[in-house]
């Protein structure tokens, strides 16, 4: 009898703990890059990167989202320490930079979510972003191309999706093998 009584309150207690703990893990539930390549090893000479403005492509996306993706990309790429310098679009100082890659981002899919719908229903109202990221040389040679997602499914504002997306792009680039800047002619092999 005692064990059955004990068991009767353990189950609800476990359920309660699960409910309490579940949301704290939810923000981490952003999808990562769809495609991946081998883990990269940075060479002695580092690339620098210039982040271009986000191209909306054929997708109707709010300007705030485009700007937020761009700003978050600049921040997150700086945090990776993968690049010597991170430049902004149209920065004139890049003319003097020898090993420069250009990050081009094109929005492929955008689903406008609703924070209220997420809070009320849990299962609907997610904000979803999918972009194609290309790392190109100055000559236009693509050395890395990935499709990356960034979503907000449960907690956080809609703009949080842009932060998650930029973090995933930075993570993808960090894990990818980039060609040695001194041997940039062999860059095709990285694709």
């Amino acid at each position: 009898m005692k064990t059955s009584k004990r068991g009767s309150w353990i189950l609800p207690a476990m359920a309660f703990v699960t409910i309490i703990l579940a949301p704290s893990r939810l923000p981490a539930q952003t999808t990562t890059a769809k495609s991946s390549s081998g883990n990269g090893a940075s060479g002695a000479v580092q690339w620098s990167v210039q982040v271009d403005k986000v191209n909306s492509g054929d997708v109707d996306i709010e300007p705030a989202f485009q700007i937020a993706i761009y700003e978050n990309l600049v921040d997150e790429l700086g945090k990776t320490k993968r690049f010597q310098q991170v430049f902004r679009d149209s920065d004139r100082t890049t003319n003097a930079v020898p090993n420069l890659l250009i990050l081009k981002t094109t929005v492929q899919k955008y689903t406008a979510g609703s924070e209220t719908r997420r809070a009320v229903t849990t299962v609907s109202g997610a904000t979803k972003l999918t972009v194609r990221s290309q790392l190109c040389t100055r000559e236009g040679q693509v050395i890395l191309e990935r499709t990356v997602d960034g979503n907000v499914r449960f907690l956080g504002s809609n703009l949080r999706a842009t932060h998650n997306l930029a973090r995933n792009v930075a993570k993808t680039i960090k894990q990818s093998a980039l060609p040695d800047p001194s041997l940039s002619g062999a860059a095709q092999g990285a694709q």
Partner: protein, 196 residues
């Protein structure tokens, strides 16, 4: 039997000796005059006072912390954001290339509210979420720094605050692209495709 009907307020000395009525007229007159003067005095200040509003800086304004509340104002030819107790950061209005307006709905209360809603039994938190949201306007600026590098800044404003700011920026010569007018009308703002 032969009595005259006399009004209660009537005195044999006439209306001159009814001070309460005169006082009432006088007070009414003074009140109207003060109101009219205040209105006249207020109009010119609206024209000359530069824009200033309490906003939340979401991201991108160089030198300002993200998600920080502060005052966004136009000081001369600069757009200035000042967090209370901190030095102001500013960009030249001439460097602002585009202004975009948008709208978003956010849950209020932040993390404490979210936790308390989660802990509310029988799904009560969901019901609270239905009402615990507020609509905000967003102001998105695109500007360039001294090296020509493009920056973007996003501010969250209370409803109705963004129009005077936008008008003032436009008056200062900030270029307006056609899509921004559409963006003011609909919450899901559109942006022109900028193919690079």
């Amino acid at each position: 039997m032969n009595r005259r009907v006399v009004p209660a307020e009537h005195t044999p000395h006439g209306y001159i000796l009814m001070p309460h009525r005169i006082w009432a007229y006088l007070i009414l007159l003074i009140g109207c005059a003060v109101g009219a003067l205040a209105q006249n005095a207020g109009e010119p200040t609206n024209v000359t006072t530069p824009f200033s509003a309490h906003v939340t800086h979401l991201m991108g304004f160089e030198g300002a912390p993200n998600n920080a509340g502060g005052t966004l104002s136009i000081e001369g030819d600069a757009l200035q954001f000042q967090k209370s107790g901190k030095p102001a950061v500013e960009v030249s209005i001439a460097s602002v290339q585009h202004v975009f307006l948008g709208e978003q709905s956010k849950q209020v209360g932040g993390l404490p509210m979210t936790l308390s809603k989660t802990a509310t039994p029988f799904g009560g938190g969901r019901v609270v979420s239905l009402f615990a949201h507020k609509k905000y306007d967003t102001l998105t600026l695109e500007y360039v720094d001294a090296n020509g590098g493009v920056h973007g800044a996003i501010f969250q404003l209370n409803k109705g605050q963004e129009v005077p700011l936008r008008n003032e920026l436009v008056a200062k010569g900030v270029s307006v692209s056609p899509s921004e007018d559409a963006a003011t009308k609909q919450s899901t703002a559109e942006v022109p495709n900028e193919n690079k």
